[in-house]
């Protein structure tokens, strides 16, 4: 099943690329069809995941590079399934959001992104993980560089360079980890599960902190954490709507996912050692991110900067190393994917209508286009963490987890101010953009656009009111991890 989820979109991308389709009519329908089909498959996988037993489902391994020690090994557990299901969903949303685009290449890139992203979340071999982690960059680069706004070239190159710097250090760390763990395993292996079984051995290596930072650097850039975040406002602002949805909804999640999957599982001792530093970085991301959000005059850039704040909670939750903190981090990532995806979708549609992203040039959107305004309203409230919407539960659990841990507690006291500042920024945006009287006519959402927004609205509310739709999966994913970490510490 997993190979289908990864390679069907990639093959479909090749097919779409070869279509003789000047208006992209067939291309977008193919893309939507593939996204919906894979969505159904991954939802089925999500629904049938045996929560009481945990572990990996759909596991598949076959020898790929035996001479190096790498196998094609994929599988889903509770940690990866939410993201694996979110990926085709956001792809479908992005396709619908780009329904007016007439370039088949655009849709082919989206399918490539979808396949590579599912690969990232499914990979259980470090080399395979790296392959997909890198494969995400190329379509994203072209999506920004070819279809972005006015400063797209600069933004695309910056995105690419930041990501590449992170990933080469990760590659070095991957290779070094595999070879350094070889004495414990009896052979060179890049297999994640085998390496995890050698965590105790890895912890005693003199180079452990180097390896830890090799991985962490790549993930902190992706997340992004201040001060490695400066690529994000450019990339998110300049990307086309679909690109922003992918970036915020999924690409950032690769960072948090990687931190839990690799840094926490392989180097828990180092994570504990550097928890103070990571919590400080998280705190700065939260407060500074919120503060910068307040200062934006470009609506898209404002939302981009709010992501820095949101992902700060993720890092704080991970740094706490408590069950509830990590649980909150994962919940926050899913919630952020849904809500920020929705914000970028609405802002993108709004910018297409007003031909500007300047906040000063907009007002009274709610009265001019009630449907668009209402959804944007909901998304912005979700962004400030309103109880009843998905974002609240993620932020709250991350902070609570941070509060429970001795090391992160002092930071939580200051981090709560980030909530206030960001709430201010969001409410002020609502006031400036949505309220008031509009002097121009705006087209309201078309049926296609409503269809794009509907699943995200549904999820934002569902995950805010019924955490049971997500919590058991996350628990099944991270509990074994935490148990193992406890054993290592003993």
């Amino acid at each position: 099943m997993i190979p289908v989820l990864i390679f069907l979109p990639i093959l479909a991308a090749a097919f779409v690329g070869m279509l003789d389709d000047p208006r992209a009519e067939a291309a977008k329908r193919t893309a939507l069809g593939v996204a919906l089909f894979t969505l159904l498959m991954s939802l089925w996988a999500y629904a049938t995941y045996p929560i009481p037993f945990g572990g990996f489902i759909g596991e598949l391994k076959f020898d790929w590079l035996p001479l190096v020690g790498s196998r094609f090994h994929v599988g889903f557990d509770g940690l990866s399934l939410p993201f694996a299901a979110l990926t085709p969903l956001l792809t479908a949303v992005s396709v619908l959001a780009s329904w007016r685009k007439t370039d088949k290449g655009f849709f082919a890139l989206m399918l490539l992104l979808q396949g590579a992203l599912v690969g990232v979340f499914a990979a259980l071999d470090l080399v395979v993980f790296f392959l997909f982690f890198e494969a995400v960059l190329v379509p994203m680069y072209f999506m920004i560089a070819l279809w972005g706004y006015e400063e797209r070239r600069y933004a695309a190159v910056k995105f690419l360079l930041y990501s590449l710097v992170g990933s080469v250090f990760m590659l070095a760390a991957i290779v070094a980890t595999a070879y350094l763990a070889a004495p414990a395993l009896g052979r060179v292996s890049f297999d994640y599960l085998e390496l995890v079984s050698a965590t105790g051995y890895l912890a005693n290596l003199p180079a452990a902190s180097w390896l830890f930072w090799g991985f962490a650097l790549a993930f902190l850039i992706k997340l992004p954490a201040v001060p490695l975040h400066t690529w994000l406002p450019h990339a998110h602002t300049q990307a086309p709507t679909a690109g922003s949805i992918f970036l915020a909804g999924l690409l950032l999640k690769m960072g948090g996912y990687g931190l839990i999957r690799f840094n926490l599982a392989l180097f828990p001792g180092e994570l504990e050692r550097f928890a103070n530093l990571l919590a400080l970085v998280a705190l700065i991301s939260i407060v500074y991110g919120a503060y910068v959000t307040l200062a934006q005059s470009d609506l898209k850039r404002l939302i981009a900067n709010s992501s820095v704040n949101h992902m700060g909670y993720v890092l704080l939750g991970i740094a706490s190393m408590t069950a509830i903190g990590i649980h909150g981090a994962v919940y926050q990532m899913v919630a952020h994917g849904v809500i920020t995806g929705l914000m970028f979708l609405m802002v993108g549609l709004l910018a297409d209508r007003t031909h500007t992203r300047e906040i000063a040039a907009m007002q009274g959107v709610y009265s001019a286009a009630p449907k668009l305004g209402a959804v944007l309203w909901l998304a912005l409230l979700g962004g400030l963490g309103l109880p009843g919407l998905a974002g609240f539960l993620g932020e709250f659990q991350s902070l609570w987890g941070g509060f429970l841990a001795e090391v992160t507690r002092p930071y939580v006291w200051i981090a709560v101010f980030g909530i206030v500042i960001l709430a201010g920024a969001m409410l002020w945006t609502i006031q400036r953009v949505l309220l008031g009287r509009s002097d121009s006519n705006l087209d309201d959402l078309s049926p296609v656009e409503v269809a794009a927004a509907a699943p995200l609205v549904f999820l934002a509310v569902l995950l805010g009111l019924v955490p049971a739709a997500l919590t058991p999966w996350i628990d099944a994913g991270i509990q074994p991890l935490l148990t193992m970490v406890q054993e290592v510490f003993k």
């Binding site: 690329g17 020898d63 790929w64 590079l65 035996p66 001479l67 190096v68 080399v127 790296f130 392959l131 997909f132 890198e134 494969a135 190329v138 072209f142 560089a145 070819l146 070239r153 190159v157 690419l160 360079l161 590449l164 710097v165 080469v168 250090f169 590659l171 070095a172 290779v175 070094a176 595999a178 070879y179 060179v188 180079a207």
Partner: protein, 468 residues
């Protein structure tokens, strides 16, 4: 079989040179003959894998020789086919081109097969002289003659130093055969022998274009026609890199591999400085020359580990580099045949003028950069693995950082091809079917090697194990 290949290539070259004047109007015939000879030698190379023994104490038969025959014949075959891209043949006659390529390949095969320094030297010169002529073959080209002169003079300096180094090694050991040298040098070579080895390494450094002996490469690449620059970037390098594998493991390995350590130093310099210089280039062939320097640096890093993993990495790197580099140079050749000079400037908007060509170029460029799922990535991964296995952490980190620089200058090519708008009134780009089918074939090979390298790797590892 090895002997048969040597005879076949030597006589094949002669026959081609002799009959060349009668077929100047029909270059395709010459290409077909050359291709047939290379095809035959490739098959014979595969059959030669089970041979063993030494001919006249100078030429070794065995799996590595067989691998060299196969790889180099493949290069010859591809170049013979690539010559058809230039429809009218070459102005000064096509037969000589094919003959020289054949002798160049023969020299390369002998270089790998040699068990004796004299044989090594003769083979090196045979291959070098062929390439000197090929670089300067297009007399009317602006930089052609200059390039050939520069290449030949620096090449001659390299050869002289190599020869002098061999003489010093001979003084110390009284032997020119590899086995004899290895026995005499023992664990700790004397200062004189070290001097000889250093001079030999300088000579080899010139041929492989390791920094700081690389100065000829950009000019030679720029001056040669692209097909020959492509040949130059793969055939001599393949032969030399495998030749050094043999040298290190049979002659100079016992001495705790001082030579390997020096190679590591040169390789690191090449990777770092080559990457920086490549950032500054606007001419694609010069850029590719610096890219070759960087690639040779990665090869050198793998060589410097003097391990089975390292040598397997070298062999795989070479195979990957052959398909990737030739693919890119074939594209250059085809575009020059359409009147498009090899500069970043004139490549602007190429992806829009001919999307399929854009995709093919992207495959080759991304493989050169080392992007996953293409041959170039695995090649680099194996080098990193070899460095990690040898616990050479500092070179590993430097090499990894330089990959980022590589990404940057390769992405400049892609940016020009895909992101820039083509100049006004530039027409759709037609493309010869020959070139097109060759490019598709090579691109498929790049992908195949990147996705399923196992059979090739196993074969190469077996070949390399045989010399260890």
């Amino acid at each position: 079989m090895t002997l048969a290949v040597i005879v076949l290539l030597a006589f094949g070259g002669m026959v081609l040179a002799l009959i060349a004047p009668s077929f100047d109007e029909r270059p395709a015939v010459l290409g077909a003959i050359s291709g047939t000879v290379f095809g035959a030698s490739l098959l014979m190379g595969l059959l030669a894998a089970h041979e063993s023994g030494v001919i006249y104490g100078a030429v070794v038969m065995g799996p590595l020789t067989s691998a060299a025959i196969v790889l180099l014949s493949l290069v010859g075959l591809l170049v013979a086919a690539g010559a058809a891209i230039r429809k009218g043949g070459f102005a000064l006659g096509s037969g000589e081109v094919h003959a020289l390529v054949m002798w160049g390949v023969l020299g390369g095969i002998l270089l790998v097969a040699s068990a004796h320094l004299l044989m090594f030297y003769l083979a090196l010169e045979l291959s070098a002289y062929s390439t000197y002529v090929l670089v300067g073959y297009d007399r009317d080209r602006r930089f052609g003659t200059e390039a050939a002169a520069k290449y030949m003079i620096l090449g001659a300096v390299g050869s002289a130093l190599l020869l002098f180094g061999m003489a010093l090694v001979y003084t110390e050991t009284g032997n020119l055969g590899y086995t004899g040298i290895a026995i005499e040098l023992g664990g700790n070579p004397s200062a004189l022998a070290r001097g000889g080895m250093a001079l030999m390494l300088v000579g080899l450094g010139f041929k492989l274009a390791w920094v700081p002996f690389h100065a000829w490469a950009p000019d030679a690449y720029q001056g040669a026609f692209p097909l020959m620059a492509g040949f130059l970037s793969v055939a001599p390098k393949t032969a030399l890199a495998l030749g050094i594998v043999v040298l290190l493991s049979r002659a100079f390995g016992g001495s705790e591999s001082v030579m390997a350590q020096w190679i590591g130093g040169l390789a690191l310099l090449s990777v770092v400085l080559g990457s920086f210089w490549a950032l500054l280039q606007n001419d694609l062939k010069r850029l590719l020359a610096y890219s070759t320097i960087v690639h040779m640096g990665f090869l050198g890093l793998a060589l410097s580990t003097a391990s089975l993993t390292g040598y397997t990495a070298v062999a795989y790197y070479l195979a990957a580099y052959i398909v990737t580099s030739l693919g890119f140079f074939f594209a250059l050749e085809a575009l020059e045949a359409e009147g498009l000079p090899s500069t970043l400037e004139s490549w602007k908007g190429l992806g829009r003028r001919n999307p399929l060509l854009g995709v093919l170029l992207a495959v080759f460029v991304l493989s050169l950069a080392g992007v996953p799922l293409l041959a170039g990535f695995l090649a680099k991964l194996y080098v990193f693995a070899a460095l990690a296995a040898a616990q050479a952490w500092a070179p590993l980190v430097v090499a990894v950082v330089m990959v980022v620089f590589g990404y940057y200058f390769y992405f400049r090519i892609l940016a020009a091809v895909f992101l820039e708008a083509p100049a006004e009134d530039s027409p759709e780009l037609a493309f010869s079917p020959t070139a097109f089918s060759l490019l598709v074939l090579l691109a498929l090979a790049v992908v195949a090697l990147g996705v399923w390298p196992q059979p090739l790797l196993r074969w190469l590892q077996a070949a390399v194990t045989a010399v260890m």
